[in-house]
């Protein structure tokens, strides 16, 4: 097939990529965007069933054009907003979706493929769309054009901007993008859509749909996705590279850094205050003026080289916002829709002679109505897979212990989040279970509530972990916990590797009662 116009957004085809073993593989991918630089077309592809963070710009030679699947025509009409979830729709599912869409929603924007794994979800999104006024506008068949037009400018701006930044971009790109834009333009305007609909967060969904406020997401939490999140702009990474201290990071997701900075090959961040700068020169200049050598907060924990700093999102807005912008590059579901006032940020640093280098952080609502003790949590990529994530989690539970509460991370969890938390919960719970000694010759026993109290892990998480570990069994009329050999061995091995631990004695933390402080 031809390289040119044939391959458009919504097409699916196998794309070459290297796996972890550096082997070639040809996973199916969806074209999300097309641009042309110096005569070469580049395709932004999303690998089906892979996480968005692996999306990338690829050259035409990596495309297996022979297996190109065009987006179904019907799909265009009904799709409410472009991309429903974090992953693109698979063509196979289209029919189902289509019928539903058609029945409920006659016309919206032309849709590109959209994955709706569960009918339920689709229905939800539909219901969401209908009640909202804004949704109504865009969902009306007649209004399609207008809504497109209305959305268009923003896209245009983006394009124009990219044009400016990259003078080399030629007209074609603009056109292609425009086409693109047209195709997906409506997505952002669909207020009813909920992107992070169901990650165990069905409640969330229904809640949102019921309150019928289309324009703004709810204000609690940090992960509630805003609807605009779903549009094509936010689906694509916008920052190519971030230089932070010694590290160069490849962002995983979109982050709303100032738009003029997104065209830069490298975005420079001050390692300590996280200010974003457009050039190394600027960073140099900035460093002459920036005296920070640690996060601008109070150090509430230090052991060895590891320290934690507490930053109030209301008192230190600049830093909090910069931190959020950075974090957003690696957290798909994080929303920056609202200000940082109701959050505290706990930044974990590692000290060396240059200062306290940020390793990761987690944010936490000052007051959580849902027992969340973590809003967003992130280990920066250079530090990942070295136990820091677990350290962050452990710290968050230490704080909860001080507060005398149980807590749970805000949902949805990311894949990495789930793995990390499961791992932490497993180890924490197994630690307790294995430490239980027979009492007076009686078989040791423990309640779930007790586990929860000891660990500050919310009861539901304890149960889910026990289930995940397959420890709960029903035996002779009662539930029992069974520890299999491989569980025990696995745990022992894991614990051997876990040398980074939080030492509660090094924590100097006094919880504040934020409910008494007026507004956050």
């Amino acid at each position: 097939m031809a390289d040119n116009g044939d391959i458009i957004e919504g097409c699916r085809l196998p794309v070459l990529r290297k796996n972890q073993e550096n082997e070639d593989e040809w996973p199916l991918a969806e074209i999300l965007s097309v641009k042309e630089i110096t005569g070469t077309k580049l395709y932004y592809v999303h690998y089906i069933d892979f996480n968005k963070r692996l999306d990338e710009w690829v050259t035409p030679d990596r495309l297996d054009v022979k297996k190109l699947q065009f987006p179904k025509k019907e799909a265009k009409t009904p799709s409410k907003n472009g991309l429903p979830g974090s992953r693109p729709s698979s063509p196979e599912r289209d029919p189902v979706r289509k019928t539903l869409d058609l029945s409920l929603q006659t016309a919206t924007a032309p849709s590109r493929g959209k994955t709706i794994p569960t009918t339920k979800r689709k229905a939800e999104s539909l219901t969401l769309a209908t009640p909202s006024p804004a949704g109504a506008v865009s969902s009306l068949p007649v209004s399609t054009e207008t809504s497109q037009a209305s959305v268009y400018p923003s896209m245009r701006e983006g394009n124009a901007f990219s044009q400016k930044c990259k003078p080399r971009d030629d007209h074609e790109q603009l056109t292609s993008l425009t086409t693109n834009g047209t195709a997906r333009r409506l997505m952002p305007s669909q207020p009813g859509r909920k992107r992070k609909a169901n990650c165990g967060g069905t409640d969330e969904d229904s809640q949102d749909s019921s309150d019928g406020i289309p324009s703004a997401p709810r204000m609690t939490g940090s992960l509630v996705s805003d609807r605009s999140h779903d549009d094509i702009v936010t689906r694509m990474k916008n920052i190519e590279c971030i230089e932070l201290g010694r590290h160069r990071l490849k962002p995983w997701y979109f982050s709303p850094y100032p738009q003029e900075l997104t065209a830069l090959p490298i975005l420079y961040l001050c390692e300590f205050c996280l200010k974003y700068l457009k050039s190394l020169k600027c960073l140099q200049r900035h460093l002459t003026k920036c005296n920070l050598r640690h996060p601008p907060g109070n150090e509430i924990y230090r052991k060895g080289t590891i320290s934690f700093f507490e930053i109030d999102g209301r008192k230190n807005k600049t830093y909090s916002q910069n931190l959020c912008l950075l974090a957003k590059c690696f957290l798909d579901h994080k929303t920056l829709y609202y200000d940082t006032d109701p959050f505290l940020f706990y930044v974990m640093t590692e000290y060396d002679s240059k200062g306290f280098h940020i390793v990761g952080y987690f944010s936490k609502e000052k007051e959580s109505t849902e027992d969340y003790n973590v809003a967003c949590i992130l280990t920066l990529p250079p530090y990942q897979r070295r136990g820091y994530g677990k350290l962050l989690i452990e710290f968050s539970y230490e704080l909860s212990k001080v507060e005398g509460k149980t807590g749970t991370p805000e949902k949805p969890l990311s894949d990495l989040g789930l793995l990390s938390y499961r791992s932490y919960w497993s180890q924490t719970i197994l630690e307790i279970l294995m430490d239980l000694k027979p009492d007076n010759g009686e078989r040791p026993q423990i309640t779930i509530n007790e586990i929860s109290e000891i660990t500050s892990v919310k009861k539901e998480d304890v149960i889910s972990t026990l289930q995940y570990l397959n420890l709960i069994n029903y035996y002779k009329g009662q539930y029992i916990l069974t520890l299999s050999e491989d569980i025990v061995d696995g745990h022992d091995r894991a614990m051997l590797k876990r040398h980074l631990r939080i030492d509660p004695k090094c924590l100097h933390f006094t919880p504040k009662d934020w409910s008494k402080r007026g507004k956050w």
Binding site: D49, Q259, L325, K354, S464, I487
Partner: protein
């Protein structure tokens, strides 16, 4: 499957779960199916993502291997950590502080420009630097200001000039450069900013808009109750605060009026002094047309005690006593008063009294326990209710006599005596009710006593026992013995006091004079009291005291005639009888005296004194100033003389008397109206009763209650004139009034030891009167001030 129904039981989080090792349960596999009965918990992930390939692979790898496999981890975009220029970029080292780092959030805001120079700027800078020196920071400052000043529109060159205040050339170059750069700039600003929300909501879906303000309220569900409660509390608080404000406003207003009043009074006094209106004639004339005013002031001014004091001024011993009084004064503000205004008129005093009354009432009203309670009792007379005091129309309300002039009592001073007296500190409780009382006849201090007026105008002294009785008793006699004039006053007081009194000028002479006066007058009112005016020390003080003294005479008068006291049983039958006699005598006496006095009105004092107290008028007057008792007595006597018993009504005569007195006291400059009766001391220990023997001094002092207190009539030539006496006589109703007065009677003994007597009486009268300015007393004074002289 049937088993399943068994297992429908939910997992109970509160139920203990026994922990088994798999090896302990060989038959566990039989139960495997049961596991499915446990509801699956959601993972917390989005369903779509949960099914992602790498995650599933990782999860299954974990399940299988129970640990992470390198090859099975979720792949992520690569990160590099090999920035080679890092060390050059981040210069210097940072030493880790030993303490945990604490940062003040607002210290972060330094004045550094947000604008960071780029390489393009650097080129310009290099160019500029050829002509002039400009540092990067300076340049950045300029750019920063320009940037921040132009939100939507670029600042003009003119504005830039104002903004930057730089050299013209530099400014122009930078400005031009900035404008150019700004125009080429892709973003809205040269310093990249996060896109802000626009108010029209058009940016609601703009992905580049972040950190919108939260316009809606945070969920308050949790605290709704608290909110309501606290809201109500706030409302209540506000109400209470506003009440407090109102009260304070009112207090402020009140205090202002008080001050005004004081100033006015002062002015009046000074004017009068300048005019030589010592007798109050002029004042009277002026005042008559506006009786209400007088009414206002007079009720308070009338208390006998004041008068007594006033009179005391004329005589030396009294003077001393007065001094004592002031010394003891515990009411601070009033003290100040005295010091500031040396020539205070009675009126002023009355005001003070009035004021104090107001204060009390206010205090009561507003429930200021802490400050109010202590003062309250002190100021107040025990016998009378505060309200009474405030309300002139009370049952015993004072009725002004037309044409009479009334002077204010020195309530405060008299009161304070005991209190200030260190030794008597323990007497606190008794203090307001009782006064230190000394008897002249049996030379001794009887301790605490309270005067009352009994039937027929008898003065009853209620004695009160206290821990300090010993001291008190010891004090008095000595004083009497040593210094006739001071006797009464000195004894109870501290050495300081005595010395002060002694130091008074002309004392010696005055003593003698007093003696002679007493003899001549044949009156003697003996009521030695420990509490005396402090002012004694200075001549001026004397003068001040004058007013205080005023009250006393009345007291004395009252005390003279009062029969025995019921409580103390102090008054003997004899006394009563004598009392009757005295009355008659007094009247006669008064008449006689009046006649005598009349001739010399201004110089009346001398005359008067002559009549009453043989001695040099002037000296006498001086001495007398302080010596309240005698003076008072004389005054009283004169008063009655004028109007006979009720003669006082006649303003003229009255004034004349006053004048005369005043004149004598003229040196002291204080005017004393004889008419005013001193309020009776709260706790009369002894009833002193003086009978005025017609023309001769034979007023026996009757000490009822006090064992020794005998109407030492024999040697007491108490001419103590008791207006109350008349009052009592005429109007018994008044008798019950507080006016238990001590009468200092100058008896015949006066001749023998006149000085003693006088002072004593003066002293005695002093303090308590102040306490109890009673209308009755006042009335009595006005109407019935009778000077009784005992032969």
């Amino acid at each position: 499957m049937s088993k399943l129904s068994f297992r429908a039981r939910a997992l109970d989080a509160a139920k203990p779960l026994p922990i088994y090792r798999n090896r302990d349960l060989p038959d566990l596999n039989d139960c495997v199916s049961i596991n499915r009965a446990v509801p699956q918990m959601p993972t917390g992930m989005e369903k779509e993502e949960e099914s992602e390939h790498h995650l599933q692979r990782a999860i299954s790898a974990q399940q299988v291997f129970r640990e992470k496999k390198e090859s099975m981890v979720i792949p992520v975009p690569e990160a590099e950590s090999n920035i080679t220029y890092y060390d050059r970029l981040y210069k210097g080292e940072f030493r880790i502080p030993k303490q945990l780092i604490h940062i003040q959030p607002f210290n972060l805001d330094n004045e550094q420009p947000d604008y960071d120079m780029d390489s393009e700027d650097e080129t310009l800078l290099n160019r500029l630097n050829r002509k002039m020196e400009i540092k990067p920071l300076q340049f950045e400052m300029m750019m920063d200001r320009l940037e921040k000043a132009s939100a939507n529109q670029l600042v003009t060159l003119q504005e830039a000039k104002l903004l930057l205040n730089e050299d013209d050339y530099l400014l122009k170059s930078v400005y031009d450069y900035w404008v150019r750069k700004r125009k080429n700039c892709r973003g809205p600003s040269l310093t990249p900013q996060i896109k802000q929300e626009s108010r029209d909501g058009s940016t609601n879906n703009d992905p580049y808009v972040a950190f919108r303000r939260r316009t809606e309220k945070m969920q308050t569900r949790k605290n709704r109750k608290n909110d309501e409660a606290s809201y109500e509390k706030m409302l209540k608080l506000r109400r209470e605060f506003s009440t407090a404000v109102t009260i304070l406003e009112m207090i402020k207003r009140r205090e202002k009026s008080k001050r005004e009043l004081l100033h006015l009074t002062l002015e009046v006094v000074e004017k009068r002094y300048q005019m030589g209106d010592f007798g109050g004639e002029i004042l009277n004339q002026v005042t008559i047309p506006r009786p209400e005013k007088c009414v206002y002031s007079s009720p308070i001014s009338l208390p006998n005690g004041n008068r007594h004091k006033m009179e005391s001024k004329t005589k030396r011993p009294h003077h001393i006593s007065i001094k004592e009084e002031s010394h003891f004064d515990f009411v601070r503000p009033k003290k100040k008063y005295q010091k500031k205004a040396k020539l205070e008129v009675f009126r002023q005093q009355s005001h003070t009294v009035h004021r104090s009354a107001i204060n009390k009432s206010d205090i009561k009203q507003y429930d200021f326990h802490s400050s109010g309670e202590e003062d309250y009792p002190q100021v107040q007379s025990p016998a009378s209710e505060p309200d009474e005091e405030n309300d002139p129309d009370g049952m015993f309300g004072f009725r002004r006599k037309a044409g009479c002039q009334y002077y204010a009592p020195r309530v405060d001073q008299s009161d304070s005596l005991l209190w200030d007296y260190p030794e008597l500190a323990g007497l606190r409780e008794l203090r307001h009710r009782h006064c230190l009382t000394a008897l002249s006849v049996p030379r001794r201090c009887v301790g605490l006593a309270r005067r009352r007026v009994g039937r027929g105008g008898r003065v009853i002294m209620d004695r009160a026992s206290s821990e300090h009785d010993r001291i008190l008793k010891r004090l008095d006699p000595e004083a009497f013995a040593s210094d006739p004039g001071n006797a009464g006053s000195d004894c109870p007081d501290s050495p300081v006091w005595t010395s002060a009194s002694r130091s008074l000028p002309g004392k010696a002479s005055s003593l003698g004079e007093i003696l002679s006066n007493i003899k001549a007058c044949r009156w003697r009112c003996f009521q030695p009291r420990p509490s005396q005016a402090k002012d004694g020390g200075d001549g001026s003080a004397w003068k001040k005291l004058g007013p205080t003294a005023n009250g006393r005479p009345a007291e004395m008068v009252a005390s003279l005639n009062t029969p025995k006291n019921t409580t103390s049983g102090g008054i003997t039958e004899e006394q009563y009888q004598t009392h009757q006699q005295q009355l008659a005598q007094m009247q006669k006496q008064q008449l006689a005296q009046l006649q005598q006095k009349r001739p010399s009105q201004h110089a009346s004092l001398p005359d008067r004194h002559n009549a009453q107290v043989p001695g040099t008028p002037d000296c006498v007057s001086k001495t007398l100033d302080s010596a309240s008792a005698q003076f008072a007595a004389s005054a009283v006597i004169s008063a009655p003389g004028l109007g006979s018993s009720e003669a006082n009504k006649d303003s003229r005569t009255h004034s004349a008397n006053v004048n005369g007195i005043v004149q004598t006291s003229g040196t002291s400059k204080s005017l004393h109206s004889t008419s005013s009766t001193a309020p009776p001391p709260p706790a009369p220990v002894q009833l002193l009763r003086t009978t005025s023997g017609g023309g001769s001094n034979h007023l026996p002092v009757l000490c009822t209650g006090a064992p020794q207190s005998l109407p030492g009539a024999a040697h007491l030539n108490n001419a103590s004139v008791v207006s109350p006496v008349n009052l009592h006589l005429s109007a018994r109703a008044s008798a019950p009034s507080p006016s238990a007065l001590k009468l200092a009677t100058v008896a015949a003994t006066a001749l023998e030891r006149p000085p003693k007597v006088t002072p004593a009486s003066a002293i005695g009268s002093m303090a308590r009167e102040n306490h109890e300015p009673e209308r009755l007393a006042l009335n009595g004074i006005s109407e019935t001030t009778v000077a009784m002289e005992v032969t």
